[in-house]
Assembly symmetry: C2
Homo-oligomer: 167 residues x 2
DNA sequence: TATTGTTATACTCTATAACTATA
DNA sequence: TATAGTTATAGAGTATAACAATA
C-alpha cells in the first residue's frame, strides 16, 4: 500500500554502511514500513530514548521514573491515580515505582487535603536537588539527539507529535 | 528547564475532561516533559501503535511480527541476523519469534546461497496472503491515526521523524 | 578468530484479580 | 456503589552467557 515510499523531498542518503553488508542492497526491505507513521514514530522514539538514557542513567532513573518525578516537581500534590492516567501506567505498577522512589528518599507523601483515600505526592529536598540536575541532563541529551535539526524543524516536529497524541 | 512550555503557535485545547477531574487544573505538570522530543515521540508512538494494534490484531501479529514479515515480503532471502539489526531485536529473541511464525506456516527457510551458516527467509504462500491483507489494514489504521493532520503535515512529520532515526 | 544460529535462563516490564479504606 | 491505594501473581518482553557449525 502507499506505493510511493519516499517523496522527492526526501533524498535517499547515498549508500554508506553497505560496504560491510551485502554491498549492492539499495533497499533493505523497510521501504513499506517507512510509509507508516507508527513505525517512524517508534523508531524515532527508540533513538531519542537511548539518547535520554545515556544522559540520565547516571541518576539511576528510567524514563518513567523521570516522568513521575518531573510531574511531582511541577505539580506538587499530584496523586498516584493522576500519575497513572497522565503516564499510562497501571496502578499496581505505580505502587512499586513510588515505593522505590520513597525508599530512596526522593519523594514525600502527605495526606490529601480533601480526599482521605489519596496521598499528595511531592519531591523531597534531595528529590528536588536530583531533578534539577536530571532535567538539565535530560534537556541536554534531548537537544543532542535533535542537534542535526534546525530550530524551526524541532519546533515543527514537536507541534506535529503533540497533535498526534494530545486530544 | 526550558521555561516556555508552549509556543503561541500551539494554542491549548480548551479544558474538556477537566469536569470529571479537578476542574481548575490548567497545567497537569507535564509542561516540562512536553519540551522533550523524546517524551513527545514516545507518546505519539504509543498512540500510533495502539491504532496499529486495533487494525491488525485480527491477524494475531504484534508490531515486531508484522515488521519481520513485511521485510521478508519486500526483501526475500533476508537473514535472521539482518532482521535483528534492522529492527533492533536480539538474536535469541528473534529465534523464538521466527519459530512461532514458522509453526504457523507463514514463512519459509531456505539454505543461504553463499553462507552455509545462514538461512534465507521468505514468506510462504499463506504468509503472502496474510501480509497482503495485514499491510492494507496497517496502512488504513495508520491513516486513521493521522486523519486529523493535513497531507502536508503527514509528509513533514514523516520526513522529520526519519531524520531523527536514519543516520 | 569471528560470525550465524541456537539453547537455556535470568531479569524486567506489564497486566489481572482481589482486597481495604474512604467517597 | 464507586474510587484510591494496595497486595500478590501471572504473563509478556528483553537481556546475558554459552555452545555448535561455518566463514
Amino acid at each position: 500500500m502507499t506505493p510511493s515510499p519516499r517523496a522527492s523531498t526526501t533524498p535517499r542518503k547515498t549508500v554508506k554502511k553497505a560496504a560491510a553488508a551485502e554491498a549492492v542492497v539499495s533497499d533493505n526491505g523497510t521501504a513499506y514500513l517507512e510509509t507508516l507513521m507508527g513505525y517512524n514514530a517508534s523508531r524515532a522514539s527508540q533513538t531519542m530514548v537511548s539518547h535520554f538514557m545515556r544522559g540520565v542513567n547516571q541518576f539511576d532513573l528510567r524514563t518513567v521514573d523521570f516522568s513521575v518525578l518531573s510531574i511531582m516537581a511541577h505539580q506538587p500534590g499530584v496523586t498516584s491515580r493522576q500519575l497513572c492516567q497522565l503516564l499510562n501506567v497501571l496502578p499496581p505498577n505505580m505502587v512499586v515505582l513510588l515505593r522505590d522512589l520513597d525508599k530512596r528518599g526522593l519523594i514525600e507523601r502527605t495526606p490529601h487535603p480533601t480526599d482521605g483515600r489519596a496521598m499528595g505526592l511531592s519531591l523531597s529536598t534531595s528529590g528536588k536537588a536530583l531533578m534539577k540536575k536530571a532535567e538539565k541532563a535530560a534537556s541536554d541529551a534531548d537537544a543532542q539527539g535533535t542537534a542535526h535539526l534546525t530550530a524551526a524543524e524541532r519546533k515543527t516536529l514537536t507541534r506535529l507529535l503533540q497533535k498526534i497524541y494530545i486530544r
